[in-house]
Amino acid sequence: ADTIKVGVIGPFSGPFALQGKNFQAGVEAYMALNGKTVKGHTVEVVYRDLPAANPAQSRALAQELIVKDKVQYLGGVYFTPDALAITPLLKQANAPLVIFNAATSAIMTQSPLVVRTSFTTAQTTTPLGKIAVDRGVKKIISAVSDYGPGVDAEAAFKKAFEAAGGQVVEAIRMPLNTNDFSPIMQRVRSSGAEGVFAFLPSGPTTLGFVKAFNDTGLKQAGIKFFAPGDLTQESDLPALGDGALGLLTTFHYAVSHESPENKRFVEAATKAIGSPEQLSFPSVGAYDGMHVIYKMIEATDGKQDAQKAVDAVKGLAWTSPRGPVSIDAETRHITENIYLREVVKGPDGKTFNKEIETFPNQKDPGLASQ
C-alpha cells in the first residue's frame, strides 16, 4: 500500500480562480464519496496554481510535480496552451495526463497518454446548428471572442448550421477585453440576421454582452440568441439576473441535471466549494477525471505505468453526474450527452439552466473532421 500522488494544475487564483475552485470541489467531492484509497493505495492530491494561460509556467509546474513531488498522474489544466505545453513531457515522465477542462480538439493528438473528461467546443456547439434551424432561424450572425476556442466555436457552428440549411450572414470576432458591447449589437441589428450565435468565455464579459443584447432592444425585436453553455455558466447566472431568461445554450452539464448521481455530486461538491452559487461545469470534469484516475490506479495496482493505465480506461463507461459517458477508445476523449438548456426562473426566484432537449452520445466532431 503506497501513497499515490496526483498533481492537479489549475487556475486557483487570479481572474479564473472560480474555475480552479470548481476543479478542487470536483476532486474533493469525488474523494469524499469514493474514499481516499484505491486497492489499499492512498491517493494524495497536490494542487499547483497556474492563474492564467502560461505554457512555460505550466511546463515548469508539471516538470516539478513529476520530478520533485513524484506524482504518478497529472490532472486538471484549464487552458489549451497549458495542456499543449505538458504533453511532450508525458512519455519521459511515464505519467498520464487527465484533462479536466482544456477544450481544444487537437490536444488529444499530441500524446497517446492524454485522456480528457471535459468537452470540446466543437462538441458542445455542433448541435446548435440544427437547433437554430429548427427554431426558424435561417440567417444568423456569429459573434465570438477572438481566440482559439472562439474560432473553434465559430467554425463548428458554421459547419453544422450550414449543413442544416442555414446561412451565416456575418461572422464577427470580438477582442477578449471588450467592455462595451453596444457597437457589436449595432452590427447585429444592421446585419438583418434573425438570430445571433455567440461564444464568450465565462466571466465578466458575458454579463456585458447579455446586457447589451437586452439594452439595445434586440431581445424585444425578437432576435433569437444561441450560445454554447459557457455563456450561462451557473456561477454567472445570479449576475445576469432576469436579463438571461430565455437564452438557449447547449452544454454537456447543467448543475440542475436531474439524476440521483448528480444529486449526490452536487451535495458533496457544494460542501467542498462552500457556496452553491459558485458550482459549475469544471467541477464535473474534475469529478469524472478523478474517476478515470482511480480506475487507472486500480488497473496498475499503484505501479507507475502510464501506457497501461491509459489502455485500461479506453472504452471505460460509467454514469457521470452529467449522464451516461464513456471514454472513446480511439481518441481518448469523452463521449457524452449534449443538452439544450433554457434559462428559466425556479420556484425560489433564482434563474437556472433547464435542460429541455438531449443529444445523446456525442463524440468530438472536431477530431472526427481532422
Partner: protein
Amino acid sequence: MQTILSIGLDAFAYGMALFIICIGLSLTMGLMRVVNLAHGAFAMIAGYIASYAARDLGMGYAIAIALAILGTIVISIPLERLLFRRIYGSPELTQVLMTIGITFCVIGITNYFFGPTLKTIPLPEALAQPVDVGFRTISAHRLFVIACGVVVATGLWFLIEKTAFGIKLRATVDNAAMADALGVRTQVVYAVSFAIAIGLAALGGVVGAEFLPIEPYYALRYMVTFLVVVSVGGAGSIPGAVVACIVLGAIDTTGRYLMPEFGNFFFYAAVIGIVCVFPRGFFGRAQ
C-alpha cells in the same frame, strides 16, 4: 447617419463612465504625483459595498452610492495613514511597487471574503428603463452616467483651478517642503485630496459597474485602460481627461463597430498616434 449618431451616443456614454472612474486617478497621478495603481481596487471595493447594500440589504440606489463612497473613504483612511503617506514624493516606480502590492492584497482579501463571482448592483426602476431618444432607445442608466460625468467634471475643475484649496494642493505637489515652509499643512492637504480621489473612484466604480462589472479581478483587469486614459489626457488635467475619455471611447466604439476583429489594433494604434502628436498627452501640465 442614424447609425453614426447611435454609435456616437454609445461612445459618449462609455467615455463618460471611463471619465468618472479615471478622473480620481488623474488627480492622484497628476496633482499628487502618486502613481496609484490601486485606484481600481478602491473602485472595486465601492462596487462590493454598493452591491451588498443594494442587493443583499435591499437599500435604494442613491443610498447605496452614498454608502459606497463613504465606506470606501473610511477604508482608505488607515491605508493612507499607514501606507500611502510613506510614498508621497517617492520615485514613481517605488509607488508602483507599493500600490501593486496593495492591489494584490485587496484582490486576495476580496476573493477570500466575497468569492470570485460577479457582483451586480441592481438599478432602480427609473434607471433600468430603456429611454426613447428619438432615433433609438438607450438605457436611462447611460444618460445618468453622462449627467454624472458632466457634474463631476465641472465641480472638480472649479475646486482645483479656482479655490484656495486647489492652489494649496498644486503648490504642495509642486514642492511639498516649500509649501510646508510657507505654512500649508501639506499632510492635511494630501489627506483631503486623497479622500476626494478615492471618493471619485468609488463613485466611478458604482455608476460604471454596468460597463465594467464588479468582480475581484476588476482592480487588475482594467488597470491598463485606466492608465492609458489618464496619460493620454495628460495626468492632472480635467479637460484632458474629458477629451481623452471621449476620444478613446469613440475610437474604441467605432473600431469595434467597423472591424471588431481589429478592435485592439485600432485602439492601441490610435493611442500611439495620439501620443506621438501630443507627447505630453492632450493637456499635459508642463513639468
